[in-house]
Symmetry: C2
């Protein structure tokens, strides 16, 4: 199995009844400020507040009846967990979610409401994977990995399909997408390059978790000894499967500072009047920081999510 | 001149190229919590961050060429001012905005960007009206009143037209709308009652500025000696023209507490992931406070605006 325009289109047909066709917002003020045309695909307004609803739903509804009956499991600290729990509930099958014990309460509640079994584990990658393996061995559940799974990548790519459909002719010159594990980026890049081969796809990453940018330069995945970024959705190391696709379909990866992420987030709340989480603000941060030149260009940005603790806004924590 | 479905439809045709068709958002979590179906018409995502773009644009583009050449003026502390300045800029005519000297900086900047002439005056109704009268006398500008003007009311009603079009069959049982001066409420009520006569229209007002609710009970407008509400868009006394239409087309007016407005605002940011200003949260506050029963009903709510100072969020000011 792999990731192609055909698998993304099939995913779109499969998940269509269960996801939102999110709006594409524009801003006269931002367009004037940057002398470009910016199109924001609002996956922060997606079910569970993130594009993750797309990939998880595609994975769950791709299972055979026999596989589905045994349930699904995953390890995730947040949006993918909520998305998988919701998809399992929609299909009426069991879900087990393995979460690090230090997961913020708001993210735990966001998963709990869909009624999965939640297992807390030590906050290390090893502990998370071991707990998942035990569940799979005990129950026969299917592990739905948050980003290396091709069904998940295909689902994430459906946001770009909608973006390209909803932007009027002459389409886009450039698409900016955040990169963490690479699921959204792979789906986005394959969709964009298949439908609009002339458009550039540039991934945007926090400088404090820039493993994808490093891999893109050196040609091999190099997990970071430590990551430090407010963009909690982008702390993961990119997957092997994802990196192979990224090398083929992505034109560049740029990095942004923490201050720039916070400033971008605040500016988007103020001008677009939507709640964007730090990870979702990273592509716009790349524009604000001058890492990407958008003058005279038509630019799509994926606002990947909107799950934020409203009691601790980063521009007020000084 | 008056306000009818025909004038609202004509307004929609007239302003269509200049306004956004804002999305209608839903939330599985809110629907489950209240056992109803809630449809949020997101005028917070409208140009200038408020429905006011609709009415002001209709008024400006309704002027004859001779009238337009002499320009427009208004007194407003915020969203109507920005909307009128934007509409005048779109038509290429002069605009003079009279603002109270205590207008928050964020609202002043929101107007300034459209380049009108801004006149500051004492923060009283009398000073604002006197300043406007001088401008009209000196320049021959047309005064565009923020809510008593029938062209403005017709423009505001176009949001309800879109809401009714975008909600699938069997349509809505109830529409909740904030009331300040009454421009949005009149446009909404006439549109809803004309297109869906079975739907109830209920206006929602802060208890701290409940002149419309009082007038609705006593049958005559009674300006309040003082108002106290965080919902700054709803502090105005309803207009005579508005009250006449409200008595005919509105089924009820309910009031909500200040705590309820803040809680509703926060809940909407968290679940819909959009930025809603206090005035825009008032209809949802009426549901949260139990002033309106939505069980088993299909309910439209107008989220009227999203202009908020992000440095002083009311749930953090304790």
């Amino acid at each position: 199995m792999s990731l192609t325009l055909a698998t993304i289109r099939a995913a779109h047909t499969r998940i269509h009844p269960h996801i939102r066709r999110t709006p594409v917002l524009t801003s006269e003020a931002l367009d004037a400020a940057w002398s470009g045309s910016l199109f924001f695909k609002c996956e922060n307004l997606q079910h569970v507040g993130a594009f993750k609803a797309r990939g998880a739903t595609n994975a769950v509804f791709s299972l055979t009846a026999a596989e589905a009956a045994r349930g699904v499991c995953t390890h995730s600290s947040g949006n993918h967990a909520a998305a998988l729990a919701r998809a399992a509930k929609l299909r009426g099958i069991p879900a087990v979610i393995v979460m690090p014990s230090n997961t913020p309460q708001i993210k735990v509640r966001n998963v709990e409401r869909f009624g999965p079994r939640i297992l807390f584990c030590e906050p290390t990658q090893q502990a998370r994977e071991a707990a998942c393996e035990r569940i799979v061995a005990e129950t026969g559940a299917t592990l739905i990995h948050p980003f290396t799974d091709y069904r998940v990548m295909a689902g994430q790519g459906t946001a770009a399909i909608e973006l390209l459909e909803d932007v009027a002719a002459p389409g886009l010159d450039l698409v900016l997408c955040p990169v963490g594990g690479g699921g959204l980026l792979c789906g986005t890049a394959v969709a964009v390059k298949s439908l609009t081969p002339t458009a550039r796809v540039v991934a945007c990453e926090p400088a404090g978790a820039a493993d994808a940018a490093a891999a893109f330069r050196t040609g091999r995945i190099e997990p970071l000894a430590q990551v430090a970024t407010i963009a909690d959705g982008l702390r993961t190391t990119i997957g092997e499967e994802n990196f192979a696709l990224i090398r083929t379909h992505v034109d560049d990866i740029v990095t942004v500072s923490e201050a720039s992420i916070v400033a971008a987030m605040r500016r988007l709340w103020e001008t677009l009047r939507v709640v964007v989480e730090p990870s979702g603000a990273v592509p716009f941060a790349a524009i604000q920081e001058g890492k990407v030149d958008v003058r005279g260009k038509r630019v799509g940005l994926i606002l990947s999510g909107g799950n934020v603790d409203l009691d601790t806004l980063p521009w007020l924590n000084k």
